[in-house]
Symmetry: C2
Subunit: 333 residues, 2 copies
């Protein structure tokens, strides 16, 4: 692995200048600092420094996800992560990111510059610059709901959607539903593809053929329901499985707008078990993701990667929670 001397030799500058660049000293130019950092990353110096660093600092990067209060998806994940980190005496910074930040600086360079030993990435999408760079990063990194092939420095944590969706389909089929629709999350995410496949598999396992007209991708906001629910109803759906409780709340609103009742005419299932699921009227039958445990597991996985335990995937069980938004099928014709 590269030493400070190797970097100095490569750039033809003094070892002391390299050291200043790496340690954030103020008496060198920004351009020189950037050059030193980029070269260090390129030569594989990053991971060495991170592993030997005495300041135990990791960070959570967060994008496209609300986390400021307990009603929101990211909140408990961060709490869980911080709980586990605190027990092992690690400092955690929460850093909101955006595409702009990712364009300005490479992921590895950012990590080296800021002295983080590893990171947990929440809410990133497949086309994000940093996600694309993760195939080659040497920085211990854990992603929620995203999997990077063939890089032993990167791990994936999530909930077993396959089992969760199968439990929900089981429930709906036992209530007599056969025309079941799927209102999925964003198309640019691995977890949406997984859930789509899980839904198709589970329907077939139950002897039902999933219909193209009853499956759609949306976004993780209630509003997306109005683009798809009318079509589902037109095509005879008696039940709608949604990729989040927020989407489910939107779907219920939309069903009601069409003069139909939930669950008397149409059953709706959510995903996540956010506080809104139990508070909504009717309360929402859902597939629970334990977000505290997701956060705790993400830290354990990251701690492992920092110490060379090359975990690839960690999946938590999904739990099915029955509430009032699902009921026996009623033929609407």
């Amino acid at each position: 692995m590269a030493t400070i001397k190797d970097i100095a030799n490569k750039l033809g500058i003094a070892v002391s200048t390299v050291s200043k660049g790496l340690n954030g000293a103020s008496d060198i130019s920004d351009e020189m600092r950037q050059l030193v950092l980029d070269t260090a990353v390129e030569m594989g110096y990053a991971s060495k420094k991170m592993r030997t660093s005495k300041t135990r600092k990791v960070c959570i990067f967060i994008e496209n996800m609300d986390y400021e209060n307990v009603e929101q998806f990211g909140y408990e994940i961060i709490v869980g992560f911080k709980l586990s980190a605190a027990r092992r005496h690690w400092d955690v910074s929460v850093v909101p990111t955006n595409l702009n930040m990712q364009t300005q600086e490479k992921y590895d360079t950012y990590m080296l510059k800021n002295g983080y030993s590893g990171a947990f990435l929440l809410g990133f999408e497949l086309h994000d610059d940093w996600v694309k760079q993760l195939g080659k990063t040497t920085v211990p990194t854990v992603l929620l709901d995203n999997y990077i092939e063939r890089n032993t420095h990167v791990g994936y944590v999530g909930t077993d959607s396959e089992e969760g969706i199968d439990l929900a389909v089981d429930h709906l089929v036992s209530l007599g539903h056969t025309k079941i629709a799927l209102l999925n999350g964003s198309k640019n995410s691995m977890v949406s593809a997984q859930r789509h496949q899980a839904f198709v598999n589970s329907m077939r396992k139950h002897g039902l053929e999933p219909e193209e007209k009853l499956m759609a991708y949306g976004y993780y906001v209630p509003d997306c329901a109005k683009d798809h629910v009318p079509g589902f109803l037109e095509n005879g759906a008696t039940a709608i499985m949604c990729a989040s409780d927020l989407i489910a709340s939107g779907a219920i609103t939309e069903v009601v707008k069409h003069g139909l009742k939930v669950p008397d005419d149409v059953s709706v299932v959510g995903f996540d078990d956010l506080p809104i699921a139990s508070q909504f009227s009717p309360s929402i039958t859902t597939i629970r993701q334990d977000r505290i445990d997701l956060g705790k597991s993400a830290f354990l996985l990251l701690d492992g990667l920092i110490h060379d335990v090359t975990t690839s995937k960690l999946l938590l069980r999904a739990k099915f929670i029955q509430r009032d938004s699902t009921g026996p099928v009623k033929n609407r014709d």
Copy 2:
């Protein structure tokens, strides 16, 4: 959850008798003790006692797997598990099992009687009595290479075979091989099914159609090679992927017996990276499973299950290790 009083009421006996049965006192009959234990398990008392137990005891059950010395597959897994357990101050017992032991006593009863808070099961097969009981156990349990559906008390730890096999197929295809055979492990194991599927997927990804005549199930011993390798060679295989290094060593011996050379005429790939892989002549190209990390991860997962973190699956990265048993394809016709 059931209390000692509930058990006493159900059986119509004194609380003190139940207590004696649960705590192994000698002044009650064996039949009564068994009745108390079975009833306690049936009423869900087990998990409560286990969770509140002050003696921190877990065990490793081992079957169909060698683990006595460092050359063998189970050895480092147990070392890794014990390392992680010791750090958290848990006692670990290693208990060899067999079908007879499993027929004599139910899994939950055995665990309750012996005061274990959880267990790690190594080398079990799908048809084992205890594995069949795991769908309903309330005892925190981790399985190597076996997955139990829909029970939040049970977790699965293993290596990502899919990625490992894909890396090996990549390597063979880059050497010009197209007639690639798969000599799998035992048919009664989930991991064999996974590897079969991974091989089929990877071949197709590389534009090759896997041939039925070039795929077979064997056992995890070198000897199984002689039942299948002759057929593979007859059907034109230029490379053989094996489900373990031991099988690979047998395959190499068999290829040589047919007057062919490894890797000049036929390439052979192993799995696991046991010591034999680097010691054999030629040294064996293989897919490494980090067994120390498997053991460590199994303990972490079990510790989580004992504390209600319902992890479902934890997979480690497989690492491809190139040695001397693989080389460029040579047309044997």
